[in-house]
Structures are given as structure tokens and as C-alpha cells.
Amino acid sequence: MRYLPKSPAERQDMLAAIGAKSIEELFSSIPERYRLREALDLPGPLSETEVIEFFKARGAENSGGYTSFLGAGVYNHLRSVVTDAIIQRGEFLTSYTPYQAEITQGTLQAIFEFQTLMCQLTGQEVANASMYDGSTATTEAVLMAERLTGRSRILVARSVHPEYRDVLKTYAKNSGLHVEEIGYGANGTLDQKALPAALKDDVAAVVVQSPNFFGVIESLAPLADAAHASGALLVTTITEGVSLGLVRPPAEADIVAMEAQSFGLAPSYGGPFAGVVASRDKFVRQMPGRLAGQTTDSEGHRGFVLTLATREQHIRREKATSNICTNQALCALAATVHLTLLGKEGLREMAHQNLSKAQFALAELEKIAGVRRAFEAPFFNEFTIELPRSVKIVNAYLLREKIIGPFVLGTSYPELTKHALVCVTETTTRAEIERFAAALRRALEQPL
């Protein structure tokens, strides 16, 4: 179903049908003090030529010719032109929310395929039709745990993406959630010694990311056991979906929140991305957002519908399971097309390349005097190193050599003053890794 705006004549017809004289009259029940009377502070309209110029200029800001070792939640992966060709079809690109199953079978089927892929990847039984991004998906997973347990204290690992924790804290501020952070141990994983003391019987969820923000893989089974023993749920967040090509899926988790950016979505300016919430079947009624379901029509044909919509905002208003009533359908479609192109073997191969290249990069960097691997736990395509010098100064030097340096961990973790989070994906060549190592060596040899 295509989304087309209404013409002034159509608006007039609709007003006439309900007996209103003007749009203004429709809004007359809203108290005057809540009405916005001044114009929105937006730039004026542009001509076609100006629009093209605008986007050319934005396009020119792309870091062409640079090699990036920056990840930290947004990953540079191969993308196929097939993905863009399919998502740009009008039936998908301009389609509106598929409320009317009888005219939106294609969109609903695409969503159903997305949910199926997300279940297969995460080892969970049911996945929703997507959320805004990984950070909101994580928070929605936490709110889901709160509803399921009737408890309101949340233990979140400090090794969860700092921005994800910020989003969670923003939601918590006015919702009665109490968020507490659990530190990390010497090997970079959640401090399991600190967990038992914090896990009291008022804890709704333990939130952990794997691979975590330092790149290392958490051991989920003991965390799930500890959480379950005190009646809490384990929420697992995944920022790098490609890891699931190799790393065992988080089947022990009760709720999985994931960022799907790695599957065919360009890093862009940091969005738009697509979030995922997947869970156990028995929790489906507390799942936020929408779900597409497969069914059989009156003639026995396979068909698709929005299901369990009775708990969504457009029906249940303020009592809905989530106030997110719009999903990221186009981004989710891109992920679906991308994963379908890759297939099981393709994803595994891609994941292998990430792991191998990251291992090679670490070995090359460790040869440099003063560079040290910070955390010993196994990692996927990101790892933390400690430098003998400020990472910011090093990155400024690397940038002059057309290298976008690693993430400066000190910006989010004041105690990690000289720590850098290096990301290496399948797009990084051996030559680029060697050039990075050489440039880093020179950067560290520079006089202060």
C-alpha cells in the first residue's frame, strides 16, 4: 500500500463529510495554551537544483580515501547494490503501515521473513518487526522485563554501549525504573563477583552486551543462571550482528535486543538503523511494537497479518506495551535482503574474515613497543589496546595519514585513559592493517 499525501480538495471533502469547516475547527478542543502559534523553526523549501546541490555537498563529506578502524556500535561492512535496488522499489519505499492485511501482503511477508531471520540468528522463539535502533530495543527489552517480573531494579553492565545506557537512563528518569551499573573485571567481561551482592529479589533484569563494548565475548550461561536464581531475567544486547555468524547465539537470554545495522545498512551519519527485540514465545504478549504473523485465509491460502496488535498503541492507547508504534520497516527490509543474499554460509564466511583480520591486526599492533592488549577474554572483530600515549593525540596524527583511528575509550570510561577500541571488519585489507600498524608506530615515535 503506497502512502500518498492528501490534496487540499480531498481535505475539504473529508472536513465536509464530518461536518467541520476547517482544520482549525478540528483542533478547537485543544486548549489554547497548548497550541503552537508561531511557525516551526525550519529552513524554507528548496528548488530541485538546490536539493541536488545540497545532497552533493553532503555526499562530498564522505570519508573517501580513508581507512577506518572505528566501530563502537556502528560497523563498516560490505553492502550489495541489490539491497538498495530492492528497497528503492516504490511498493516498499513509500508504503505505509500495513494495517490492512488484504492490500499489504508483500510488506507483511517481508516483515515476517525479517522476524524469522532474527529468531534464527538470536536463538530465540519470537522476534518483533523491528524497533528504532539497538539502544531503544535494549530499553524496550528492559521495560518488557519490568512488566514480566513486576520488579523495577535493573542491573546493567558498564560494558554495555555507553549510549545505550544513556537511552536507558533517560527512559528510567521518569518511569520508576532504578538503574544500577555493574563493573567489569580484569579480563573485560562483567564482574561476576559483584553480581551476587547486587542481585536482590527486586531485580527485574540483568543487562549485558556480547560482544561487549570492549569487544570481548561474555559468558552468558552463568549470568542467566544467577539472574534466574533470583527471579530476574537476562537481557542480552548485541551491537554487532555479524558476530552471530560465528559466536554461539544468546539462547540463554530471556530477551535479546540487537542492532541490525551490520546487515546491509550503511553507517551514514549514524542512522537510520533498525533495532530488534527477540524473546521466548511465552513472553510474546509483553513484547513491544508490532509482529507480523503467518496464517491461512478462508480459501486455505497462506497469508500474512499483523498479529497481537490489540496491545499496540493505536488500539490500547496509553496502556500499550510500548509507545513506539512505528517500526523501521525499510531498514528491516534492507537487513532481510542482505541476509538472504549472504545466506548461512555467506554470513559465516563474513564473520570468519572479521575474526581473522582482527586477530591479525592485534598481532601486528602488539609488535609495537608499548602497545598492549588490555583485556584477555576472547573477542570478535573489536579489541581494546592500551597505548603509551593519549589516544586522541595518536588519532590526530593518524587522520593526517588518512586513517580514521580507533575509538577513544576514555571519552566514556575516564579510568581507561590510554585505551583504544580497534575495529577490523572484512572490508579492511591486509595492506591497510599493515599501513595502520606502521602509522601507529610513527605516531608513537613522534616527539611530544
Binding site: G150, R285, T310, R311, I315, R316, K319
Partner: protein
């Protein structure tokens, strides 16, 4: 379906069957009929407290999810867990096997403010008239 004479009824279409300080609570035949096929119920845990006029659970039909309001305050002593697998009992036997929870009443006097069967039947008759007007 007849409305048991010994039950008391709320304007939100719950019934309550009081025996001393013990009470069973359910939704009325009128309510189940308005909702249509019930597919899921969400009930409070045993030991939790319910408060008069506040919601204590939800009934989900193919059409809508509806809140259930407590006709009186008290502590939940039993929840009708068979409804998790057979929610249709609410449709087939709303005043009997489709009961939702049993509570120990905190203040049995609260019941006196509720309607008896005759008053409730008059109330739903006026509701239906309003709806068709």
C-alpha cells in the same frame, strides 16, 4: 444467561461472589459477550494485593485487550490458572468455571456499594439502549 442472585456486580461488568471475607471475582456474561472470543488472560500473582477500583489484570479477546477492575480490596489467595490454557471458559461459563481470582477481602463493607442482580440487569439494559440510540 441468568445473573446469579447471590452475586454482586460492578458498572465495569465484574461480578463478585462473597462468602464471609472470601470472594471470587469474574467478568459477567454481558462483558464476555461484548469482548467476543477470549484468547488470553493476565491474572495477578497469589499473595499480591488488589485495590478497589484499580485494575488487577487484563482479558484479551480477538478484538481488544480490556482491563479488569477490582470490585473490592483484598489479597489474592488463588488465581484460576487453568484459564492460561483454556481462556474460552470465560466465554462458555463466565459466572462459574470462568472465575478469575479468589481474594481475602480487606474490607467486606465495600461490597455493599455494588449492584445486586436485578439492578445490574437494569443497568445493562440501559447500556444496550444507549448503545443502540
Amino acid at each position: 444467561m441468568a445473573y446469579p442472585a447471590n452475586y454482586r456486580y460492578t458498572k465495569e461488568h465484574e461480578w463478585v461472589d462473597v462468602k464471609g471475607d472470601a470472594a471470587a471475582i469474574g467478568i459477567t456474561d454481558y462483558a464476555q459477550h461484548e469482548l467476543g472470543d477470549v484468547v488470553f488472560v493476565e491474572l495477578p500473582k497469589v499473595g499480591s494485593k488488589i485495590e478497589v477500583g484499580k485494575t488487577f489484570g487484563t482479558v484479551e479477546s480477538v478484538k481488544a485487550v480490556s482491563d479488569i477492575y477490582a470490585p473490592a480490596s483484598g489479597e489474592v489467595v488463588e488465581a484460576n490458572d487453568v484459564l492460561h490454557n483454556t481462556p474460552e471458559k470465560i466465554n462458555t461459563d463466565p459466572h462459574g468455571a470462568g472465575w478469575l481470582i479468589k481474594v481475602r477481602l480487606a474490607n467486606p463493607a465495600e461490597i455493599s456499594g455494588l449492584m445486586d442482580a436485578a439492578a445490574y440487569e437494569a443497568y445493562i439494559a440501559s447500556q444496550s439502549k444507549e448503545a443502540s440510540a
